[in-house]
Assembly symmetry: D2
Homo-oligomer: 337 residues x 4
């Protein structure tokens, strides 16, 4: 860590800082600059207590960490891309994957029709929400276990592996029994107890970025999964919260090259949540493919206008088939299959 002292402090005040740095287990290294004295504190920032407490001292101007705080998710110690095997479907490999399906599982007819159609159009994983986190308690909260059963039925019928969201620690075993990938949603991205419970099921985890989560915080939330014994983690960007109101969220596609730089885990893009408008989904998908994403997560509904949640952002079955055709040249240009 780097500790910057205020200008013109006394020798005694400086000595007190140096003493504290030693007491917390670091080796101090003093540099006298033009206006300020800077102390390099040498030691592992992940195993020693942070020196940031020093910023509460009157003679200290600033404390700056040098090391990265994440370790297991970091590409530094794991140069190769991680690949996640989901019933034979590899996420993070040469083949580009598409997860598609309705925002919420609503009934058997809806999920079956969607599953068959998205498979035919080229999707390789089926998505569908059974437990829905809703901003208002008066909105549809999902079918619960009944929804999970319908997803399992659709998997049996189509062979597509299934992804669904886990909302409650209390449901982790139940959800793991039915799903192939556990999704942790944006609102729970720093619900560390839920992350630990999900990790412990052993199922692959897809961790969405929180609405105002910095890249570093997102990677550290992922660290909760890997450090709890589950190596099968993928990150999913779904739009961040900004001042812009034209779209519901601002899809941050720069997250693709950044997470690829920093981590070995696969990256998924969710353009449906990202835009909140079905008319922007196609352009977002093309951008995601071109920028190096490993997979897409797209909301598809047989009749978006009758959807029980998020109708505005779901594409139709025909729209999805057309989109898959349009993506082909971009997938080829990106060197994927």
């Amino acid at each position: 860590m780097i500790v910057v002292l205020k200008p013109n402090i006394s020798k005694k005040d400086e000595a007190a800082v140096i003493k504290e740095i030693k007491q917390l287990g670091y080796k101090p290294h003093v540099m006298r600059g033009v206006e300020r004295t800077v102390i390099g504190a040498i030691g592992d920032e992940r195993t020693h207590q942070t020196l940031e407490v020093l910023t509460s001292w009157a003679q200290v101007e600033n404390v700056m960490p040098v090391q990265k705080r994440y370790k297991l998710v970091s590409r530094e110690g794991h140069k190769e891309n991680s690949q996640i095997d989901v019933r034979g479907t590899i996420i993070g490999g040469k083949k580009f994957q598409v997860m598609a399906g309705p925002c919420s599982v609503e009934d058997e007819k809806q999920i079956m029709a969607t599953a068959v159609a998205v498979k035919k159009a080229g999707a390789t994983i089926l998505r569908g929400g059974a437990f829905k986190p809703r901003t208002s308690p008066y909105e549809f909260q999902g079918l619960g276990e009944k929804g999970l059963k319908l997803l399992a039925k659709a998997r049996k019928e189509t062979g597509l592996p299934v992804i669904t969201e886990l909302l409650s620690e209390a449901h982790s075993e139940m959800v793991a029994e039915y799903t192939d990938i556990i999704q942790i949603g944006a609102r729970n991205a720093q619900n560390f107890q839920l992350l630990i419970a999900a990790a412990k099921t052993g199922k692959p985890i897809m961790l969405k970025r929180g609405l105002s989560m910095k890249i570093e915080e997102w990677l550290l939330a992922g660290e909760y999964v890997l450090s709890n014994g589950n190596p099968n983690l993928m990150f999913c960007e779904r739009g961040i919260r900004t001042f812009e109101t034209y779209t519901r969220n601002t899809l941050d596609l720069s997250a693709v090259p950044i997470v690829k730089n920093e981590s070995h885990c696969p990256v998924v893009i969710d353009p449906s949540q990202g835009a909140g408008r079905s008319d922007l989904v196609s352009a977002m998908c093309k951008g995601a493919v071109a920028m190096g994403a490993d997979a897409l997560l797209i909301e598809v509904h047989p009749n978006p206008a009758d959807a029980r949640s998020d109708g505005a952002q779901q594409v139709t079955l025909e729209g999805f088939a057309k989109l898959m055709q349009e993506l082909k040249p971009f997938i080829a240009a990106a060197g994927r299959e």
Copy 2:
């Protein structure tokens, strides 16, 4: 709801929208404007399905809700300020309340010394974290139940009621057994399962605002508490996430008059999290008092430089005593005691 149609659409496309509005249970009311036709859809937006799905229709430009989505937390149906009785200490009444204590309970000596000192200085409720949500899995996660027991001991010694954070649905009964107020933290502000579990304990709930939560979303999260049978809710502003990096968060003091306008529930300000720097705490507290907050939540530690979490933002025992003196004229100016 108001449905705005695109300019120059066909009669048939317009008729289809009107039909769908009727089907979803609303009574359409057509207004032909200069460039656009606007349809007022009359019906209770909280009991009917939302018309927002219509934005996925090609002929629809925009759908605007008219009603407020929150009901039980709203001042509209509950004109009087709510008051919460915590072992005889009233939050939301004429007396201004101060909750103070360490970020984390660390050991008996630390919590006892703090409890005695803050009581002497005028604090009326003791805060302390036993379960800590930490950005990194490698940081101190709190003492758990041992911390709860120490809080209970400090209450016995000083008579101060206690507030502590609930992190996991699985702990709701355990935490409720020891604490007088349950705190829901910013990262869990839309963890609705946790909110429901907390509500069901019957204990008063203090709901912190999420880092990027709009006022409406915050009120709706509070609606989860009231609609689950618990009327004792207070809101706590603790800083939102913005582009500014000088402080850890940007304390949004305008939340005080806004929540007071919209809701009958008490409002608490947390300047410690809000600023992340102990040198700004005093000014923030004065502002909060002047703007009409009902209580403050202040982090106090006997030796902030040795704190196991968030040392930079905790004030010393002496600093806290001085602060309480400085606040007096502002509390009087605000017409509080």
Copy 3:
């Protein structure tokens, strides 16, 4: 406009609102809903005074505009894509254009070497700053007119048209004398006097998005150009300000399909400013191409480490040549040349 009244107001208060709506030239249309009364005010919102003043009335809850505020930049009245002819180079046509060159023009050798190299690699327009807006007064402010002369010399040598930034109304004629396109920078995006001065030179204008400019505000700033008699406007997204600190700004690629939806003007992406890091430029460029941008604006420097401004985000001559090769398949996939 839609005026939403508060619940349970008196007949007299309602009548006062209706009277004011009429006085401001609108025709009121009353709809009585379940909880609230809503008044549709029919009339052209662009020629009448706004009704937003009504929100200061105690009986009014909300006022919502229905019309779009921009007109000349809007695709509604101009369905075809606009094309801008810059000395024979068409921006907004089938051919994808690349503007490249240094952040600042530093000396003759630097700008000449860059101009020759970017032309060889396939760039079609030369960029270079002569007047630089710098956060601190102690930073290099550009060569001024000397820089403009060097740009003109590089144009003569290579045949590449030139784009440079206009910083001051007082310089509009001088800059227009040398440049082929006038750039209005992010910090001046709502400096309307500068926009008017630039428009009046008759040169094509590239308007960068301000750091926290909503799409609507950006389009309205463009409206200042078109309504001052200059039809040759293009919009340039260069990153917005968010909470994320990993990159200097957050490049909002969703601006491409959104501006294309709303406006007929060409869209340019600046990945150099957008990312602030040269290692992310390549992925950003690919995304921009795939999402439908008409052109790129890329900072290129013979020796970024010695650059007098923004060295961290400029790519080398070799890096640029390689990037142009990598973009080819994406340009083809996007159906461009």
Copy 4:
């Protein structure tokens, strides 16, 4: 500056960085840490070229400045609070000042009535816009010089000094002829040419914070005023842009103690722009006073519903008189007059 190298780089790559640091005029100081090598570069960061260009080098992970970039506005070299004398009215002294008046000067009757009323209620400076920066070119742009003349007339009548906004370099002399304080608006806060032109008039300058301006950038914009020979600068917080949509902007009252910490210049709060809603103005004013602001800037209009700009946020003459009474105990509590 601190240069952090990537882990496991070669000796040759390290030597190249050290050589460049020396070439740019700094003295390198190498520290070998647990995982990374860190180089302290000793030298004045304000007079040498920045080392941030090194972040474009493959072997460099991060470059962190140590010094503050602002100098003349900084409290470091100027411990005492600056006081600005405006025709005998002192801003930044013991007396709390209130600037009040309409958003726009509309006609003689309006400005005279307002001036007389605000003076009677206790305001000490008259505000009024003659040149108005408007988001849309179709909105009222102010009366121009005619408005300036009306302000001068109101000053003659009431004795109140006057503040008005400067929008264009071309108007700097004309505006300076009429006004006592020049206001630089939020949209022009980084229009450095305008700042220089304003500074050179010699009139006191009030610099509003840009919508997404970091504190450091704001102080550096102020540095443009002081370094151009004008010591009479005050900073005005008027709300920043965040994700919240309940208010037009989010008034960042923490700017008061922060700017007071960092700078010797007076701080003014504009609650009218900050909230955009007149019903929040009173609470905002109380908070500003309590937190240590030196002055308020409040929009007051005889009939807000008929205002030609920003009617929603202007308070009535009666409302203003009542507000001034309510502020008295808070001004006293803050130790001001």
